[in-house]
Symmetry: C2
Subunit: 138 residues, 2 copies
């Protein structure tokens, strides 16, 4: 755990630190990526899980639209650019050791490429896994 | 994306598949780990983000208590074993390509080692990052 995060962890609620410093301290992995959890700002459902590199994070902060890094295409992935299923950023947080981001978003249509609202539609039971998300129209 | 996930993605809600097959198909990374998002089953707040290996996943499914893999200690991490801040598993899901788990849990006390309810207490603003979680007693 980086010293910077350790140093601020006992600060009381409301304490503020320069964003520029956080951006230096965030823990991108050895591929230069940080995981991102996207959560519906209204329903609080977890919608999807993806990755950002430094450029994707800066673009997201600058535009207020979620931009990820596509590991398969090896390029910036402006969510909804082709599908129309954009995500508007509400609030962005990071965790106690700065190695993951949590984005609360307004999701237009389906977050999942299967046209389900959320990617987390495979519910694990005692002996079976069950499809637990419906297709949506928009 | 693995063929198995592709093959089931158009199945209607309620369709079920053998759990044993899912466990074979889940995408553990080259360190044998899969990311896990822990979400409060009541408030739906995202509490923490951690990793499981195959053994941690099986233990979690068998006991109904969250067991992670500690990358720093290189051992199974039975959440709350020393702090008492256990997590009881409610529902476990995976996403469309089986490379991340989402666990809805009953959290006892603080999920975060800083004694905050959630690890995601660093809120990123335009120019500042602000501490946005209070310490809790229990």
């Amino acid at each position: 755990m980086k010293e910077w995060f350790k140093n601020i962890e006992n600060a009381p609620e409301g304490s503020a630190f320069p964003l520029a410093r956080l951006l230096e301290e965030l823990n991108f992995n050895d591929q230069g990526l940080i995981p991102v959890i996207a959560q519906d700002a209204d329903s609080l459902a977890v919608l999807m899980f993806a990755w950002m590199n430094h450029d994707a994070l800066l673009e997201t902060l600058n535009t207020g639209r979620m931009c990820y890094w596509s590991r398969s295409r090896r390029s910036l992935w402006r969510k909804g650019e082709s599908s129309g299923h954009t995500q508007k950023l509400h609030t962005l947080s990071t965790d106690c050791d700065g190695d993951v981001l949590l984005a609360k978003v307004s999701q237009r249509g389906a977050a999942c490429h299967t046209h389900r609202r959320s990617c987390f539609y495979l519910k694990i039971g005692d002996e079976q896994v069950t499809i637990s998300g419906a297709f949506i129209e928009e």
